[in-house]
Structures are given as structure tokens and as C-alpha cells.
Subunit: 410 residues, 2 copies
């Protein structure tokens, strides 16, 4: 049996341990939902208030130039680029993930005008499926969107496929896909690939350059801790820039936005994919949140993430054998930074844990989802969380009638 003392000892030797101090975390809360919404770091407060009190209050409209607001989407993109293995000038931060996907899907379909099939994963986050269908409907030609079982991808890939849109880490199961291997197969049939990094950026090492990825997008509020509804990011490989056209253009993506020209002429590089001015305060929050990455490498984060998920799975195996199905792959190469446990009464389990201050989340129909975020979680938190899970399961409190009716928005 793994003991609590062993976990305390591992924390003492953890080279990322000091970063926890950057975050606001209430005593008594074990926060295993940073894969849904990351917590506040002190640098967020500083940057947001500096933006309000100095840049906005003092600089007023002049700050579009003088405080660099115009360049914020590309500057933040360059800041984020190393986390996904991108080069400077290949990443943009703005909008929300769905709009970023909309722009990339529309643009990608325009580049394969003779093809009429889009493949996506039936297990994809539903919003991704809605927007790919919506943009396919507006491609100017008949397009069939096929949500497939990803295990059948090889059978579905052929010369009719224009685009393959996949999520790199499954939001329910936590399974991580082989980005490079799949990208190579997609390219082999002449199709393009768009990866959703919602559960990958800041969670697992990514190398879009090595994998030769065409396009990617992700959100800023999960493992990047940019705040609720934080701006999203998009990646466009440099070789596509100047070729790919923004299907939802706006004045800030114009080559000369202040010439007020009637004809749209795209700016160079990623700026062409800026539509209109994103919230500068929201960008400032994400900017502050990225500070912590100046003190942590993705390889350190990955090593601790795997150690924590290994620990969690081992404790569940040891203490609750047969109670849950561990849905997340045990193979490191296939694991993101969360662990999903299947249980028929999963909703009650998650709610009973939240009452005790152990915050995970429920994903219908039967997944209890726990995110492990190495920047601020300790090994001892993993141990204590499992202790709570054991108590909830042995007491059967999760069967309490107050958990019988599901809150529609949890």
C-alpha cells in the first residue's frame, strides 16, 4: 500500500513544488478540475490591474499603440508557441476556441475544393462537431461531415477527404492520440489536419513542427489558467501563411486597418486571422497566467503529470478494486493529464466529492473526471483525494437522494 508519508516525501523532492505558491488555492479544497478551469495566479491579478489602471485609465485610446494592444494577439501567440512546439509567427491568441475552429475549418475546406468529406471523431467535444458541420454547410459545395469511431480512421481515409479534425486528448476518457502518426496518414491521402488542443496545451508535450501539423487550436482557460472564457489560440504552419484565407475577416486583419479601405487585403502572417479586437483585459489575464511557464518546462510538467496519474490509478487499484473502471489508458504514450473513472452512479459520486471539497467533474453518461495539474497540485493532494473517494464509496453517500436530480449545468 502506498502511504501518505511517501507522498509527502515525493512533494519534498518535487522541483515544481514552489510554483504552487503562485496560485490562489483555498485550504480545504482539492482542486482536480484544472482541466476545466485553471485557478488564479498572482501574476493574473497584477497584469489585469496594470492593464486597467495604467494602460486603459492613463493611456486611454493611445494604448492601442503605446501599450502594444494592437500587437497583443500575435505577441501572446509567440509567448504560447513554445508550449505547442510552434515557431514565432505561427500562433495567434484571440476570440474563443469555437471561432478559431470556424476560421480554420472554413479556410482549410477552401484549400481542397475538389474534395467533399470531412472526418471527425464521434467522441469529439460536441461543440467541435457543431461548428465543423456549420462551416461545412457554408463551404460553397456539398460536404459530408462524418463523425467516425477513430479506430476506423485508416479505413475512412481516401482521396475524397478534405480535412480531418481531431481532438488530441479525449475530453472524456483522457486518451491521447498519436498526433504525428495520424498526421502522416492524413497527409498521405492529400488531406489536411486540424488538431484541437483543448486538453493538450499546457498538459502534455506537443510538437506541431515535428508532426508537420497543418492547423491547430486550443483554449486558454484549462491547463493555461487564463481565466473563465479566456481567449483561445490558433496555430497555422508558416508554409500555409499567405495561402490560407480567413473566412471571417475583420478590419484588424487588414494590411492597412487605418486606411479604411473597402476591399479586404489581408495583413501578413497570423495577423490576417485576427477578426476584431479581442478583450484586452482578457488577454492581460492570460498573459499573466503564462508567466508561470517561465519557470517550468513541459518535460518537467509531463514527468510530474504521469507520476501523479500513475499514483492516482495505483491508489484506486489498491483501495477500490473493482469499484470503478479506469477508462484512461495505463499506457503513458496514450495518456493525457486526467484520469476518468467510469461508474453508473458517477453523477452522485462527483457531487458527494464536491461537497467534501474534492472538485472533479462529471461527463455524461457515466464518467467521473479528475484533472492533474503539476503546476499547483501535490502528490499528497492525490492521496487525500483518493481517501475522500474511498469514504464516499464505502459510506454510499453518493446514493443520497439529494444527488438524484442532475443539475443541468454541472
Amino acid at each position: 500500500m502506498i502511504s501518505r508519508d511517501e507522498c509527502v516525501a515525493r512533494d519534498a523532492g518535487d522541483e515544481l513544488a514552489a510554483l504552487r505558491r503562485e496560485f490562489t488555492l483555498d485550504a480545504g479544497i482539492l482542486y482536480l478540475d484544472g482541466n476545466s478551469l485553471g485557478p488564479v495566479s498572482e501574476a493574473v491579478r497584477v497584469r489585469v490591474n496594470e492593464t486597467i489602471d495604467q494602460e486603459w485609465a492613463k493611456g486611454l485610446v493611445r494604448s492601442w499603440n503605446e501599450a502594444g494592444w494592437m500587437a497583443a494577439p500575435t505577441r501572446l501567440g509567440d509567448r504560447l508557441a513554445p508550449l505547442i512546439g510552434a515557431q514565432p509567427g505561427e500562433v495567434l491568441v484571440a476570440d474563443t476556441l469555437t471561432f478559431m475552429l470556424a476560421k480554420l475549418i472554413g479556410a482549410a475546406l477552401d484549400q481542397r475544393p475538389d474534395r467533399h468529406v470531412v472526418l471527425t471523431d464521434v467522441a469529439n467535444f460536441h461543440s467541435d462537431i457543431y461548428i465543423v458541420q456549420a462551416m461545412a454547410n457554408r463551404a460553397g459545395r456539398p460536404i459530408t461531415v462524418k463523425p467516425i469511431d477513430r479506430a476506423t480512421l485508416d479505413d475512412e481515409l481516401n482521396g475524397e477527404v478534405a480535412l480531418v479534425m481531431l481532438t488530441h486528448v479525449d475530453y472524456r476518457t483522457g486518451e491521447m492520440l498519436d498526433m504525428k502518426g495520424i498526421t502522416t496518414k492524413v497527409h498521405a491521402v492529400g488531406a489536411l489536419v486540424l488538431w484541437d488542443f483543448a486538453h493538450s496545451a499546457g498538459a502534455v508535450p506537443l510538437d506541431v513542427t515535428d508532426a508537420d501539423v497543418d492547423f491547430a487550436a486550443g483554449c486558454g482557460y484549462k491547463y493555461l489558467n487564463g481565466g473563465p472564457g479566456a481567449p483561445a489560440f490558433m496555430y497555422i504552419r508558416s508554409s500555409w501563411q499567405g495561402v490560407l484565407e480567413n473566412p471571417l475577416p475583420g478590419w484588424l486583419g487588414h494590411a492597412r486597418p487605418f486606411d479604411f479601405e473597402l476591399d479586404y487585403e489581408p495583413a501578413k502572417g497570423m495577423q490576417a486571422f485576427v477578426t476584431s479586437s479581442p478583450s484586452i483585459i482578457a488577454l492581460a489575464a492570460l498573459d499573466g497566467a503564462l508567466d508561470v511557464w517561465d519557470h517550468a518546462s513541459m518535460s518537467q510538467v509531463r514527468a510530474k503529470s504521469l507520476a501523479m496519474t500513475d499514483l492516482f490509478i495505483a491508489l484506486i487499484d489498491q483501495r477500490l478494486e473493482g469499484v470503478f473502471e479506469v477508462v484512461t489508458p495505463r499506457d503513458h504514450a496514450k495518456r493525457g493529464s486526467q484520469v476518468a473513472l467510469r461508474h453508473a452512479e458517477g453523477y452522485g459520486v462527483v457531487q458527494a466529492l464536491i461537497e467534501r471539497g474534492v472538485i472533479g467533474d462529471f461527463r455524461a453518461p457515466d464518467i467521473c473526471r479528475f484533472g492533474f495539474t503539476p503546476l499547483y497540485l501535490r502528490y499528497v493532494d492525490v492521496f487525500d483525494a483518493v481517501e475522500h473517494i474511498v469514504q464516499v464509496m464505502t459510506s454510499e453517500v453518493y446514493r443520497d437522494p439529494r444527488f438524484a436530480v442532475r443539475n443541468p449545468v454541472t
Copy 2:
């Protein structure tokens, strides 16, 4: 000649005067650019920091329910509705203006499948023209977008027109259009109307209900003072709700977002036009900014706005006769809340004024634009601004070589 003392006296009798204290305004700055970016109010700071320190830091992911984040776009929409004459349940706050327009244009074109012309004003803000063209390109049928001289609208209206998209107050000239009269004409030929309220909301009285407007959208960062890149708003008349379909759908607009269904089923009402979660911090800033409207009516604001623009025009007439062309209509019924002065060397004039702390802006090719915002400007500010303009023009400092090269982003 109007004297400075007369202006001081008018301020003493101004029933909106006390609201100025809510805003952060540096001494020595005369801010006549609130029609581009409004200043910070104290309530913005309070709401933003409350959102970060309480809702986000303490509530974490639970705040999507417990702090009402899920409902924030519709709640803020209801708060904003009275400013445009809308009913509760007809306004939504999220995204940016261009995305709001994209959704409304796409949805409107779907409602007139047998028509193939869109009319818009050639003097419209260029971003509006780019997005209407982009959405027309993706309408699924050939559509011709015609940017017309608005004076010729009557000649262009016919049974082929699907949609007319106009900006209610011209961003360059400050001319206000007859919303009700034009809407009636558009409806008479069976077309739909989409009004852009970027320079209208919080600036002039609006009554979308009385004018029977179909759709409208506007931004939060000008007269509403929501901060740089603040979320935008959209209006959909209640009779269109449940009929109009969001062309850029996302999970937060689904009837059951947490059931993760593969098929999109729109939520009821305006919620169907939410795509994905907007920045909650950005929404909080706008929420705080709207507090001031609890203490000011649009009729008070309009009366003071007209008095200020009348004063400005009278002073320019008296002191700088023949130097500028006053482009903004002198007729109150056609005037927004800004005054545009035409001058061949307008760029230098605006830059020389900014050096003196009088902040207006330049709109190519020759417009010096000054916004008058009754919530925080005084009559004496108008007087002092004109004094600076007189000094700039008589000294000819605007011809200084340092103003010869235009900064591309001012």
C-alpha cells in the same frame, strides 16, 4: 462670443455632472475620444476584482453555476436592453461586434432564400463590409453585396433584396440615420434590416421596438465604457426567436449543453446565439461599466449631448470661421454624439492636439473626429478643447514635419 464663464455656469446646473466622479480621468487630459474607447469607471475595477478574487479564485469551476457565469450573456443583455429600446430576452452580450454581425448576417440570409442582393452603405465601417461580403460568400447561393451611397437607398430597394445592413450613426461624419423610416421602407419590399449600433448605443436614444427592427448589434467599448475590446451585443426581435438559426453554433447555445449530444438543438431565446463561453472577466468589466446607467436616462444624456455638440459647433463657427468644414449635420434629428471637422491637414491637427492633451482621432482621409460623452465631459471641457484647437490652427503647429508621416495605427 460664448465665454468660459457661461460654460462653468452650465456645468453648475448640469444634473449629470456628479457622474463624472465615477470615472478615472487624468487632470490635463480633455478626452474627446470616448466614441472610440470609453474611460474606466470605478465600478469596473470593483466588478473585475470581485470576479477574479471571489468568483474565480474561491468559486473556481463551480462559479459557472453559482456565480451565474452561464447566464451572464443573457443577464447582461437584459441589462443593456433598455438602452436600445429592447425587451427583456431580446439582447445578448458576448464575442465581438464582427462575430455578432457574422451570425446575424448568416442567419438573416437563410431567411430570404429566394433573394440574392444585400445592400450596405459604402460609407460603412470597412470591417462591416468585409464580414457581410464574407458571409454572403458562404450563403450557399450566389449573393451580390452592393455597397451603395445611402442617398440612393430608395432606388435600390426592390424584391431582390434579402438584407439591408446599415450603421445608424456614421463613424466618420457623425450623421444619424432615420432608423424607423428606413426600416419601414426595407420591410415594404420584404427585406430584412440589420442595424449596427456601434456609435449609437449609449450615445443616442434608440427604440428598436417602435422602429420594428429585425436585428441589431453594437460594441461595448465606446459609449458603454466596457473597456478595450469589450464584448459586443446583439439584438434579435422576439418574433424572430425560435425561427432564426445561429450559423456559428456552439455548445453553450445548445438546449442541453451538458448532455453532450451530437446533434445540435438550439436553446430557447437568445441563448441559442451564444457560441462558446465569452471571457467572464471582460463581461464583468462591461457589467461594472453599465452601473452608471442606473443614474442616467438616455433622454438626459441626449439633451446634454446635443447641448455639447451645439456648443462645440458654435465655438468653432465663432472662433475658426472657414477653417474647417463642419461635416456633422447641424440638424439635431440627424446628429449623433460626435462632431467631425474636415481639414486637408487633419492628421497633423489631431496629432498636435493629442500632444496638448486634447484627445480626438483622425479618420482618413481628412476627418478630425471629436466625441462628446455626457457622462463624464463638462461644458467647460468643450470650451477648453476649442481654445486648444484655436491655438493649434493659429500657430500652424499642425504643419510641423513630425506630423508629416502618419503612424499606420492611429
